[in-house]
């Protein structure tokens, strides 16, 4: 497996390291308003990921809140200069793992007002919506470790290094899990993934 330089990572918040470093420093000194800014920055991202893990928006919201409360309580233990988002997500991961036994995983159908990609026609919108539903269900069926790694990498746009930190594993293992997740999804989804109108080819041996 080759390593490549990291391209632009989507979903990354605007790169203002100094501002965030100031907020963290102030929060560690007891400034709760500063911590509130960090919540403002990362809550939605964390909620998104925890929803992906729990498939339950109630559980995801509760876990997100619990995570930030724990982060607030432990903020003095955060090492300045390291990745705050990865640190918070790590706490979220631990909370999710702890709650996994008790959680009731209710698979919810996608709501009617899903925010799909920009579309120009109702027909394309329906097609994409169905594709999104199918992909979401398939991701839901992935083993938890694979799902966690894949969504952190692709949906959250994190590097393999940060994925590894959050999941408490090595970069190689994180990369492998993402690889396996993609492989499994392709196996399950390949007919649905053909772009509209594309011909089916045969793989060379």
């Amino acid at each position: 497996m080759t390593r490549d330089t990291e391209p632009f990572l989507p979903n990354e918040p605007a790169n203002e390291p100094n501002e965030e470093a100031d907020w963290i420093r102030d929060a560690q000194a007891g400034d709760r308003a500063a911590f509130a800014r960090l919540i403002e920055r990362y809550w939605d991202l964390l909620y998104r990921w925890l929803y992906r893990m729990t498939r339950d928006r109630h559980a995801a919201e509760d876990l997100t809140q619990e995570t930030f409360l724990k982060a607030l309580a432990a903020v003095k233990s955060f090492r300045p200069g390291s990745n705050f988002r990865a640190w918070v997500f790590r706490i979220g991961q631990n909370n999710f793992v702890n709650q996994k036994r008790a959680e009731r995983r209710t698979k919810q159908p996608l709501p009617d007002d899903i925010a799909g990609p920009d579309v120009n026609s109702a027909e394309t919108a329906t097609e994409n919506r169905e594709a999104l539903e199918t992909v979401a269900r398939a991701i839901d069926e992935l083993p938890t470790d694979f799902r966690a790694a894949l969504t952190l990498r692709v949906e959250q746009g994190l590097s393999f290094r940060d994925v590894a930190r959050i999941l408490g594993t090595t970069e190689e293992t994180a990369r492998w899990r993402v690889f396996k997740a993609r492989q499994k999804l392709l196996k399950v989804l390949s007919p649905e993934l053909l772009p509209p109108g594309a011909a089916t080819g045969e793989a060379k041996e």
């Binding site: 497996m1 080759t2 490549d4 391209p7 560690q28 000194a29 007891g30 709760r32 308003a33 509130a36 919540i39 809550w43 939605d44 929803y51 992906r52 339950d56 928006r57 109630h58 559980a59 919201e61 509760d62 997100t64 809140q65 619990e66 930030f68 409360l69 003095k76 709650q99 008790a102 996608l110 709501p111 899903i114 925010a115 799909g116 990609p117 999104l132 992909v135 979401a136 894949l150 969504t151 692709v154 949906e155 393999f160 993402v178 690889f179 993609r182 492989q183 999804l185 392709l186 390949s190 993934l193 053909l194 772009p195 594309a198 011909a199 089916t200 080819g201 793989a203 060379k204 041996e205």
Partner: protein
Amino acid sequence: MKCQAVQNRILALLDPRHIPSAFLEHVGDCAACRVWVEQVARLESLIECLPVPPAPTDKKASLIAELTGASVAEPLATPSRARPMSSPFRTFIRENANLVGGLAAAILVAFGVWAFSGSTKGPKADVAATTPEDPFLKKVAGRTVALAKATTPTARLQALSGWADDLGTEARSMARVASPDELQEIARWFGKVKDGMVKQAETLPPRALTPAERLTQFDALAAKMGDTVTQTNKALEEVSQDAKPALERIRDTAQDGQQKLRDLARKGV
């Protein structure tokens, strides 16, 4: 390079939509891999776009508001907690005006320092420097002391009833923030206190209360349990799914306690 090897390498990339030149040559020459790469790219894009339903409540805004001091969350479905505006100092002045003298001067200075320092501070609290006292811990310790001072079964019942009330209030107050496990702990405590109440009521010596007193007092205690049932039911309409089992447990325990107390009120009547 064989197709499988190329495909595996592409799947392990940070982003399979950005294919290094080493693999582009093969993909360019292989129709099957070209289609495959389009599938992978589509999958990656779809994963990025997966929608997320909105959060069911607004815990984000509540937490931010609390941290910035914009507003403080009220506990769910509890009676108004507004404490009377007690002013022990007004009473002190009224009753001890003749003795104030030099003490007034000293207190005046202290108040001045407090008043001015309090008015200039913003909502920031120095978490690192001070740990606030825990009012719930104080209540629980206070109930234990009240039980130590209670020399009659009736006094013990009253103390236990107040304690059950405290626990119900705390559970509803914590339902937004505590984990299910923590709420279940409070529910467990509530159960112990309720069992203690029922036991006291059951073992009350026959001559301790007249039948009429028994009926009045036990019905009053049952009514308080009923209040807990009502308040908890209201809270259940607002809490998340994970908080419900613990609150339901408290509600059911309170209902059980209410019924038992009513039955005991009428025992032998």
